[in-house]
């Protein structure tokens, strides 16, 4: 009797825990976030979501390793001389996963819906630029028009954000359905998404419109592509070792070090473009409204040593408002405020910050030099920064908060500092963080977290956007970057680095230029 019950119990347990049979050739990507919200390229702003979306959707253009645009869904394109429109000529015969044709109308539908505020686009709408409308000439030809000259248009069309979505699927089922049942033209088709657990894609056997720089054309080599959400760094490393996943994203530097010495694994480090991990300082609140305080923070931090220590030499200290791999990076930031704690103290003394009550923290007008700094990532780095600032009498009050809490504090202007980073290939990202229109307010979540309003900066941003030659754009952005350094609005800390470890029997893994997202289309798995 007892034994039978035990048997039943064990059987039940086995049944509950049995996994679905795996397909023949499966590659699994270990993802460090488990809270993906949407797989709709028009809506997402998360690189974690984009990592999946990139496999399901195709772009019009892509960049080769040298950063030059090459054809993908578009065979060719013509940019108008005044930068107010661009005309695309599509490859014939492209199909969405639902069998409907991917034609000029599909692109018009996609861009119109991105521009519609009701869709709730979080990033695509920014990359679409000053969008006026799309004119369809015939099935394979269309023109995207802008309200004013838009020099950065190509850098938008190479991003997955502006990939075409199946109008039939969206119209039949609605945006909410599409967000979790994406239908694109890409080399992998969406199968299932079990929230917080995994996402499964299978290869698109119809696929034969690979980008010009891909290693092959036709369907992908692997049959199934899985994404498994494993938040813990150490768990992800262990899962790689046991072969439960083949590629691990955002690995801890210490693990990277261990895997580097292991023949079974390869390591990939991608210096990501955009805005590095940066300590922004709120200029609308005491005490960071004092430029002396902001400059002292620069001088007090030996960033090279801090970053080297915390990340074991795998990550680099940031040397500019833009990451060094970004187009139009201004190298003058390196050494603009050299590490010099004595100077930091001198600047503070001169500005009237003295420790009058002997608690180790400077004060002025009876108020402590205490900077409230809510963060949602990089806790260890910030603990190190905090310890360094304390040495010159600045109290950086770091609190680890949730994203929801951070957003609330930002909208209500209840913080003095925090961390920001932005992955991008184009310097136009600076506008998102610097423009006066982007100062957050209650109910208005935008990214000028420094709360710094300047007509000079706004003008420079506008000029850069409509500049027509790359040299002209870069010289405007250089002026802007120097100005930001001079005002000490933000302290760039560490360059974002994609630290990926993958099984060495996996070949053909390629990386998106700029944001270093993995492309699985050419991947093969040796025995």
């Amino acid at each position: 009797m007892h034994r039978r019950w035990l048997g039943v119990l064990l059987g039940l347990l086995l049944l509950l825990t049995s996994v679905a049979a795996l397909a023949d050739l499966t590659v699994v990507w270990g993802e460090d976030r488990d809270d993906l919200a949407t797989l709709d390229p028009r809506i997402t702003q998360s690189r974690h979501e984009l990592q999946v979306i990139r496999q399901v959707f195709d772009s019009l253009i892509t960049l080769d390793d040298a950063g030059n645009p090459v054809p993908w869904l578009a065979e060719s394109w013509d940019v108008a001389a005044d930068y107010t429109s661009i005309t695309f000529h599509l490859k014939p015969g492209i199909l969405f996963h639902d069998g409907t044709p991917c034609n000029a109308d599909a692109f018009k539908f996609t861009y119109d819906s991105i521009a519609d505020p009701a869709t709730g686009s979080q990033a695509a709408i920014d990359y679409l630029g000053p969008y006026k409308g799309t004119v369809v000439h015939d099935d394979l030809t269309f023109t995207v028009e802008y309200t004013r000259p838009y020099g950065a248009m190509i850098s938008g069309f190479v991003l997955t954000y502006l990939a075409p979505v199946s109008p039939t699927a969206v119209q039949a089922n609605g945006d909410a359905w599409f967000a979790e049942n994406p239908v694109g033209t890409g080399p992998f088709k969406f199968v299932e998404w079990v929230r917080r657990s995994h996402i499964t894609l299978v290869k698109n056997t119809e696929y034969n419109w690979a980008p010009a720089n891909a290693l092959h054309n036709g369907p992908a080599y692997i049959d199934t592509l899985g994404f498994k959400f494993i938040k813990e760094n150490s768990t992800r490393a262990a899962a790689l070792e046991t072969g439960e996943i083949h590629v691990g994203d955002l690995m801890d530097p210490l693990d990277v070090m261990a895997f580097e010495g292991d023949d079974d694994f390869d390591v990939f480090l991608g210096r990501v473009g955009g805005v590095p991990v940066t300590l922004y300082l709120n200029t609308s609140r005491f005490p960071t409204n004092d430029r002396a305080v902001r400059q002292a923070i620069f001088h007090a931090l030996d960033l090279e040593t801090i970053v080297d220590n915390v990340f074991f030499g795998y990550l680099k200290a940031a040397t500019g408002v833009l990451a060094s791999s970004t187009f139009c990076y201004w190298p003058g930031g390196d050494g603009y405020y050299p590490y010099d704690p004595a100077k930091a103290e001198a600047i503070l003394e001169e500005a009237g910050w003295v420790d009058t009550n002997g608690n180790g923290i400077r004060d002025k007008f009876g108020q402590e030099l205490s900077i409230y700094c809510p963060i949602i990532f990089k806790a260890t780095l910030m603990t190190a920064v905090q310890a360094e600032l304390r040495k010159v009498g600045i109290d950086l009050n770091v609190e680890n908060v949730t994203k929801a809490r951070q957003d609330e504090l930002i909208m209500n202007n209840e913080y003095e500092a925090g961390l920001v980073r932005w992955v991008a290939t184009d310097p136009s990202v600076l506008g998102i963080l610097m423009h006066t229109d982007n100062i957050p307010a209650p109910g208005y979540f935008k990214f000028n977290w420094q709360h710094y309003s300047s007509s000079v900066i706004d003008r420079l941003l506008a000029e850069a956007e409509s500049a027509t030659s790359p040299d002209e754009r870069c010289s405007i952005y250089a002026t802007l970057q120097e100005l930001v350094y001079d005002l000490a609005l933000m302290v760039p800390l560490q360059e974002t680095t994609q630290t990926v470890v993958y099984a060495s029997n996996l070949t053909g893994l390629r990386w998106e230029v700029g944001n270093y997202q993995a492309i699985f289309y050419d991947v093969q798995l040796a025995d």
Binding site: Q122, T235, T242, A404
Partner: protein, 306 residues
């Protein structure tokens, strides 16, 4: 018996009504405009805000909202998750299988380990076995879950590499089950031991033992009856806790489950999920208690409900 069951079920109705009212109040008591919480600061037009307000019935007077909420709840509609824009019940029940697996595993570990330690200790009181087993039980009740979880990973996955850390399937369930079953095992061992000791101290057993008439099996039989009620109570409590999710175990072992969903929903202010979480865990608790009370009567004929 049936009558008692009926009475108890009727008694549960007001409890559930209170819970639902509480759950309803949660969203209204949180400071800030619920619609603002929903869109999380995305710049949207007044039209979108009004649409959302109408969609979540927030444009009606509170009493109407309340009855609407109750009416929807009775047909199983608990609204839409703020974060995923998916039905709350769908988001929630996607996490249920993982939670049930862990609950089954944890309770199995509790019963097997706790039972073994308790019975051996009870039958050989004050022996070295008893002392060491009771020390193990003490460890079980004193070990914080996150510590035992991390030690298990350290030993079995990192050092010995016997058991994968994440793997789905049976192997992946072993360590989390042990870690989350330790507390129940320790408690159970202590309960069973003292139940056996109580029986051994009863006069008729002492006499019988003195005459050499008694077998261990008989002692165990009596002890089983004596121990069954506290053991059932404990297991019921443990099961109810599991339905609330083993947030810490799930976090450390990177598992899915209700606990982690609730923790994340609280932190990310996904109130509809929290609302349903309150309802689900408290109802689970109430119904498990009822089931345990009914089981008492089956196990111990002396307990009669009339």
């Amino acid at each position: 018996m049936l009558q008692y069951l009926g009475r108890r079920l009727v008694g549960i109705i007001p409890v559930l009504l209170i819970v639902m009212t509480l759950a309803f109040a949660v969203i209204r008591l949180i400071p800030g405009d619920p619609v603002r919480n929903i869109i999380g600061g995305q710049p949207v037009s007044q039209q979108v805000m009004d649409n959302l307000r109408a969609y979540f019935n927030l444009d009606e007077p509170v009493y109407k909202q309340y009855f609407g909420f109750m009416r929807n709840a009775f047909v199983g509609d608990f609204g839409i998750s703020y974060r995923n824009r998916q039905p709350v019940t769908k988001v929630f029940f996607q996490q249920l299988p993982a939670t049930l697996q862990l609950a089954a595993g944890g309770i199995l570990v509790g019963i097997l380990v706790g039972g073994l330690l308790g019975i051996v200790s009870g039958l050989f009181p004050d022996s070295w076995l008893d002392t060491s087993f009771m020390f193990l039980a003490l460890i079980g009740v004193s070990m914080p879950t996150f510590y035992s979880a991390m030690l298990l990973i350290l030993v079995f996955s990192v050092i010995l590499r016997w058991i994968p850390v994440v793997g789905g399937g049976f192997m992946g369930l072993i360590l989390p089950s042990i870690s989350s079953g330790l507390w129940a095992a320790g408690n159970l061992a202590r309960l069973i031991r003292s139940a056996i000791l109580d029986v051994m101290n009863e006069d008729y057993i002492r006499t019988a033992r003195a005459k050499g008439l008694i077998e261990r099996r008989v002692v165990l039989g009596h002890a089983a009856r004596n121990a069954s009620i506290p053991v059932l109570t404990l297991m019921g409590l443990q099961l109810a806790l599991f339905f609330g999710g083993a947030a810490i175990t799930e976090t450390v072992f990177a598992r899915q489950g209700i606990g982690k969903l609730l923790v994340d929903s609280v932190l990310e202010k996904d109130y509809p999920i929290v609302q349903f979480g309150i309802l689900f865990t408290t109802s689970a608790y109430v119904f498990i208690n009822l089931a345990i009370d009914m089981l008492y009567a089956f196990i111990d004929p002396r307990i009669r409900y009339d």
